[in-house]
């Protein structure tokens, strides 16, 4: 390559990206300040999907808010159902029967697989690879079929209820689940061949958007984005809830095998490795689950004592999902605060975009795997 000696004069230019843009994963607007091909600043502008779900919660009985949680992180609704129900159970002192807990873990892990497959597919699209999307959706379809068997819904489930789950699984569910788990490892190897170690894909993502661990923690980044930066943190392991203490699984973290720790490729690859871990968890669940009731008896209308409060954390597909509930002793909560993982994860964008190429902004936003439904709530 011949080095260009001549000075090219460039001006700063402000570009508006979104809110209707195919690579912002919803209605996110980013105000980019560029100088030539260099990106100097990127300010995310959120709120286009704001419905104030927290206000809705204050006007509904506890049980009726469950369907609204599906609409927050609509790609992994089961995790949101579970986070909310766990918080209500803490303030109201409800004990979930054992089989209910096992089914909760089965459905949330299945949903995590579905969510990571979507992230895998759309990340391919963001970086110019159209085909992996179709492969990801092929297996996601199998997962959604399984979840449909349980509750009839494919995206907004409301299957997890306060005190357990809505109903026991149909008899053929476990066999179908085993079938899926048998074929799934082969499919993950296929994804790796197709996209993970694809030369073009690696050129696009390795070393791009490096997020150092200390910056990630300062911004409150959690989930695969934080683990991609080499921090081994996972609520399922650190503060095990439900039946996670009985399960064995690894928490994958980013490595410097192919490039710097915390780059876009690492964040992407953590999700692929979590697919394996989720499948591992599911295999143990299928073996260890035993018959019994799935829903606590006499939950009825929940009325926690006045002044009761609880903050529960759970590991959703995007990171730490927190629900903070304060009760005033009535049938409706005094306050429900949702700590959405994507909200903190996207706030780190300006810090990692600075100095990157303009074309890489899409690759960086995609690697954060945000869902605008839960950012805006």
């Amino acid at each position: 390559m011949v080095a260009v000696e001549k000075d090219v004069r460039t001006d700063e230019l402000v570009i508006n990206m979104g809110p209707q843009h195919p690579s912002t994963h919803g209605v996110l607007r980013v105000v980019l300040k560029t100088d030539g091909e260099m990106c100097l600043d990127a300010q995310p502008d959120i709120g286009y999907l704001h419905r104030c779900a927290e206000k809705i919660a204050e006007n509904l009985p506890y049980g009726q808010f469950v369907p609204y949680t599906d609409r927050m992180d609509y790609v992994s609704g089961m995790g949101c159902n579970m986070g909310y129900c766990m918080a209500v159970e803490q303030v109201a002192g409800i004990q979930v029967p054992e089989r209910g807990e096992w089914l909760r873990v089965i459905v949330t892990e299945l949903n995590r697989i579905a969510s990571h497959l979507l992230a895998f597919g759309t990340y391919g699209l963001d970086t110019g690879a159209i085909t992996p999307f179709l492969y990801g959706f092929r297996e996601r379809e199998l997962v959604l079929d399984l979840l449909e068997m349980l509750c009839g819904a494919r995206l907004t489930y409301s299957y997890i209820r306060i005190g357990g789950v809505d109903g026991d699984v149909p008899p053929e569910f476990m066999d179908k689940l085993k079938e899926f788990l048998d074929i799934f490892p082969k499919k993950i190897r296929e994804y790796n061949k197709l996209l993970t170690y694809n030369h073009i894909f690696m050129k696009r993502t390795v070393g791009v958007g490096v997020l150092p661990a200390d910056v990630a923690i300062a911004y409150g980044v959690t989930g695969p984005c934080l683990r991609g930066s080499g921090v081994r943190q996972d609520v399922r392991r650190d503060e095990p809830y439900s039946v996670y203490p009985k399960l064995e699984f690894d928490v994958p973290v980013g490595t410097d095998e192919h490039g710097p720790i915390g780059d876009a490729w690492n964040r992407y690859y953590i999700r692929i490795r979590e697919l394996e871990e989720s499948a591992k968890i599911l295999r143990q669940c299928v073996k260890m689950i035993s018959p019994g009731p799935v829903l606590a008896e006499k939950v009825g209308r929940v009325k926690p004592p006045a002044g009761a409060e609880a903050y529960t954390r759970s590991e959703n597909a995007r990171g730490e999902l927190g629900f903070y509930i304060v009760s005033d002793g009535t049938m409706t909560p005094a306050r429900v605060k949702v700590r959405a993982p994507s909200f903190s994860n996207i706030s780190v964008l300006p810090a990692i975009v600075r100095g990157q190429m303009l074309a890489d902004v899409v690759a960086i936003i995609g690697s954060l795997d945000i869902v605008l439904g839960e950012i805006d709530r």
């Binding site: 959120i46 709120g47 704001h50 104030c52 927290e54 206000k55 204050e58 803490q90 303030v91 002192g93 910056v215 923690i217 300062a218 911004y219 409150g220 959690t222 921090v231 943190q233 650190d238 503060e239 809830y241 009761a308 409060e309 609880a310 903050y311 529960t312 954390r313 730490e320 927190g322 903070y324 304060v326 005094a334 306050r335 605060k337 700590r339 909200f343 903190s344 706030s347 780190v348 810090a351 805006d376 709530r377």
Partner: protein, 177 residues
């Protein structure tokens, strides 16, 4: 499960109490956390101390409105990734003067959480570099999570309630400037 969780922040709470004395009004316990109830003036100091104790992750900041008692809580949740400890800090101020110091010098994460808290609950964070609305439009009136909030019927001519939509007498579409 609950007892293990709430016990994890007890030592840090006791240390904070020993250090700040009367500024820590009370150490409360709930199902999941130890809650340090502090005077509004000590909000930032206590957080700085806790951050020094290893609570590196600011998980969330939110406000709870109690109109009958004329109180506004500001609550934060912190987490220590190394020691796997959690703690919560709470402060109470009058509703119309809900004001605490910003935590942005301590955590970059505080920036957006405080903006959200200001937007929805109307709490003012002194020293915040950019205290604007974050979820609602900039010209929105009122703070939605206050208990006495009334949603406006119209916003720039757009009806907020389906019963207010009058198809026969539609307002003129405002010109885009």
């Amino acid at each position: 499960m609950p007892s293990v969780l709430s016990a994890s922040g007890q030592t840090a709470a006791d240390q904070t109490k020993a250090r700040y004395g009367d500024a820590v009004l009370e150490i409360q316990k709930c199902a999941t956390d130890v809650i340090l109830k502090v005077a509004p003036g000590a909000w930032a100091e206590v957080h700085a101390f806790l951050k020094g104790q290893g609570f590196d992750l600011l998980v969330s900041i939110c406000a709870v409105d109690w109109p009958k008692e004329n109180k506004m809580w500001v609550v934060s949740h912190l987490y220590d990734p190394e020691g796997r400890r959690r703690i919560s800090v709470k402060t109470e101020s009058p509703r119309d003067a809900a004001r605490v110091d910003s935590l942005t010098p301590l955590w970059a994460a505080a920036n957006w959480h405080e903006r959200e808290c200001f937007d929805l609950s109307g709490v003012v964070f002194t020293g915040h570099p950019d205290l604007r609305r974050i979820l609602c439009p900039e010209d929105w009136e009122g703070h939605a999570l206050r208990k006495d909030y009334k949603a406006p019927d119209f916003y720039h001519g757009i009806a907020n309630n389906v019963n207010l939509i009058d198809l026969d007498h539609r307002p003129p579409i405002p010109e885009i400037v």
